[in-house]
């Protein structure tokens, strides 16, 4: 899913299960802009390596093929663990028949790609006690863009009042926006394109989408997993993604 030219298993089976599939030439992976990278380009090679690894984790979603030509690439690109064998995946495969299950799978896939869908994890089980693994659904909370929005940027002092000619005068209280970066509600309460009235509480902000997500890959996922012209819910997510990319800031 998401690979350029992917047609799905049904197309492969109906074309006679060929061993070799001619695929589109592999596009070089472009590292997305990382706001923290610019400030850490310097000397420490370990930090540079860590930023490179963590951005690759967020954006390089597809495994390599065993037929990929690795000549001419840098040594660090030839990672043997980047190829996943079918025998590793086979025990994990399951057949999803119901519409709801298929819909959940593609929404979970969006979550993995970095597009958080509030309430998705909780909607999959009857009670909060069954939801023990938050890694796949809340990993966006520990991305660099979220840290930048959660922690205040400027240093803040505790001084809350000044003294003028012996009179204590309290400083004016200043508040940031009421609706913070963390968005969490039960699934479907706020739709992908709904705002909190005039307050900009978009489902996905430009910073999250541009910095943490491979745009072209996500577009292909939206296109390939669409179920036809009446697939409103999926289309609304696709429109929300495009809107997040093209909003002026």
């Amino acid at each position: 899913m998401g690979e350029d030219g992917a047609k799905g298993w049904a197309a492969w089976v109906s074309s006679g299960c060929p061993d070799q599939i001619s695929s589109a030439p592999k596009q070089p992976r472009s590292a997305p802009a990382d706001p923290l990278r610019a400030s850490n380009t310097a000397e420490d090679p370990y930090r540079k390596w860590w930023y490179k690894e963590s951005s690759a984790d967020r954006t390089s979603r597809l495994p390599t093929r065993s037929t990929d030509d690795s000549t001419g690439e840098e040594d660090e690109e030839a990672d043997p663990y980047a190829t996943i064998l079918f025998s590793d995946n086979k025990p994990l495969l399951l057949s999803l028949q119901s519409t709801r299950a298929k819909n959940v799978l593609r929404l979970v896939w969006l979550s993995f790609l970095g597009l958080h869908i509030p309430g998705l994890a909780a909607s999959l089980s009857d009670g909060p006690q069954a939801n023990w693994d938050d890694r796949w659904s809340f990993t966006h909370l520990i991305s660099p863009s979220y840290f930048a929005s959660i922690f205040p940027r400027d240093s803040q002092t505790r001084i809350t009042s000044d003294s003028q000619a012996g009179v204590l005068i309290g400083r004016e209280k200043e508040y940031s926006t009421d609706f913070g970066p963390v968005k969490h509600w039960s699934l479907g309460i706020i739709g992908p394109l709904e705002n909190i009235g005039k307050e900009k509480c978009e489902l996905w902000t430009k910073v999250e989408v541009v910095d943490g997500v491979d745009e072209a890959f996500v577009r292909r996922v939206f296109e390939q997993l669409r179920w036809g012209a009446e697939d409103v819910e999926w289309d609304c997510y696709a429109l929300a993604f495009e809107a997040a990319l093209s909003v002026k800031k």
Partner: protein, 377 residues
């Protein structure tokens, strides 16, 4: 049926001023070209125009789809379109236009210059009747009729309390429609609170602050992780002069002698809340630290709730945030931001012990450089 309307919009698109291309609108038009009768797609298109702050274009979409030959109220997407239009007019300070739209959704046309009392009464009855007849529609569509009913009450009486009582008729009614704890109930609670918030804060109508505050205190008890309710709570606490309400939010509270659990998004949101009032971040750092520590070390509680009802014994385990990679990583980042690097190092080792396979922890540059320095020393 909507084909001619779509052609009209395609022509309009060609006349748009040259500006930065909005690829979402282009995509929306491609969806509409294949599904011209799909009301939810039209609703999405209008919302995109609203996101671009082009209310005139959004209004044209609503007028084209809803007036002339209005769709049947029980058709999928109709209620959402009516609500979106009414809400837009209301929020952009056109209460007369909003009232006209709400009456239109109830199939009442204003014939005189203003709506009469009889028209309003008939509209209320029609909206309630439409809600009852829409049993087969999803809860989100039915909710739009309730919101329209609430907005009608607000526009005609200018009383937020009256609007809230309207919502209460549905929230407190017996039956499975909006049972407490369900998604539909949570959604309607959020909708009612947002209506009062917009009436008082966005549109600056005089409203007793206690009205919203009391509702929010109850709502946040029932739905502690809902970030919209949390945001509204902060707004209600603004300028109270005391930090008490927000401090209570951030602290550990109990119910029936047992500590109440908070999940991961709520814990992370609390870290942000500590810095919500500028200049308070430093003052609240200990409270933030203790909140994260409570989340990280949430012991395994075994609660025996003896329910003497048909002699059933109910056993509940609470381990919501223990062993959470997200909490550990957030705690680590918090200590680094505070400059407490020794504590950050200890936190890192504990995090590795608890989440050994988490790459975000063991590849952290602090541990890599610390490990290397200790080897070279």
């Amino acid at each position: 049926m909507l084909r001619s309307k779509f052609c009209h919009f395609s022509a309009m698109a060609g006349n748009l001023p040259r500006c930065r291309p909005f690829s979402a609108l282009k995509l929306s038009r491609s969806f509409l070209s294949a599904a011209q009768d799909s009301l939810p797609h039209w609703a999405a298109h209008a919302r995109l125009e609203r996101l671009r702050e082009r209310t005139d274009d959004a209004r044209k979409v609503y007028q084209t789809v809803l007036t002339g030959s209005p769709p049947s109220p029980t058709r999928a997407g109709a209620s959402q379109l009516w609500w979106d239009w009414a809400e837009m007019e209301w929020l952009f300070r056109n209460p007369d236009a909003a009232l006209e739209v709400v009456l239109g959704s109830a199939q009442i046309e204003i014939t005189a210059s203003a709506a009469s009392g009889v028209m309003v009464l008939r509209a209320k009855r029609n909206l309630e009747e439409t809600y009852r007849r829409s049993e087969n529609l999803p809860w989100k569509e039915r909710e739009a009729w309730v919101k329209l009913r609430g907005l009608l009450e607000l526009l005609t009486s200018s009383s937020a309390a009256a609007a809230l009582y309207t919502f209460d008729e549905y929230l407190l009614a017996d039956g499975a429609d909006f049972s407490e704890g369900s998604v539909a109930h949570e959604s309607l609670v959020v909708a009612s609170l947002l209506m009062v918030y917009h009436h008082s804060t966005t549109l600056r109508n005089p409203t007793p602050p206690a009205l919203l505050r009391e509702r929010l205190e109850k709502a946040i008890e029932v739905y502690p992780s809902n970030s919209v309710i949390l945001g509204l709570f902060l707004e209600a606490e603004k300028g109270r002069g005391v930090w008490g309400g927000v401090r209570g939010l951030l602290g550990e509270s109990t119910a029936d002698g047992l500590r109440k659990d908070k999940d991961v998004p709520r814990r992370v949101a609390e870290v942000w809340v500590a810095g919500w009032e500028k200049r308070r971040w430093e003052a609240e750092k200990e409270r933030t630290r203790s909140g994260l520590a409570a989340a990280a070390e949430n012991e395994r509680f075994v609660h025996f709730c003896l329910v003497f009802l048909e002699l059933h014994v109910h056993l509940v385990l609470f381990t919501r945030t223990r062993g959470s990679l997200i909490i550990r990583r957030m705690f680590l980042e918090f200590e680094i931001q505070m400059g407490e690097l020794e504590k950050a190092k200890k936190m890192l080792y504990i995090a590795i012990a608890e989440c050994p396979l988490a790459k975000g922890i063991y590849c952290h540059p602090v541990i890599v450089t610390t490990y290397l320095h200790s080897k070279l020393a």
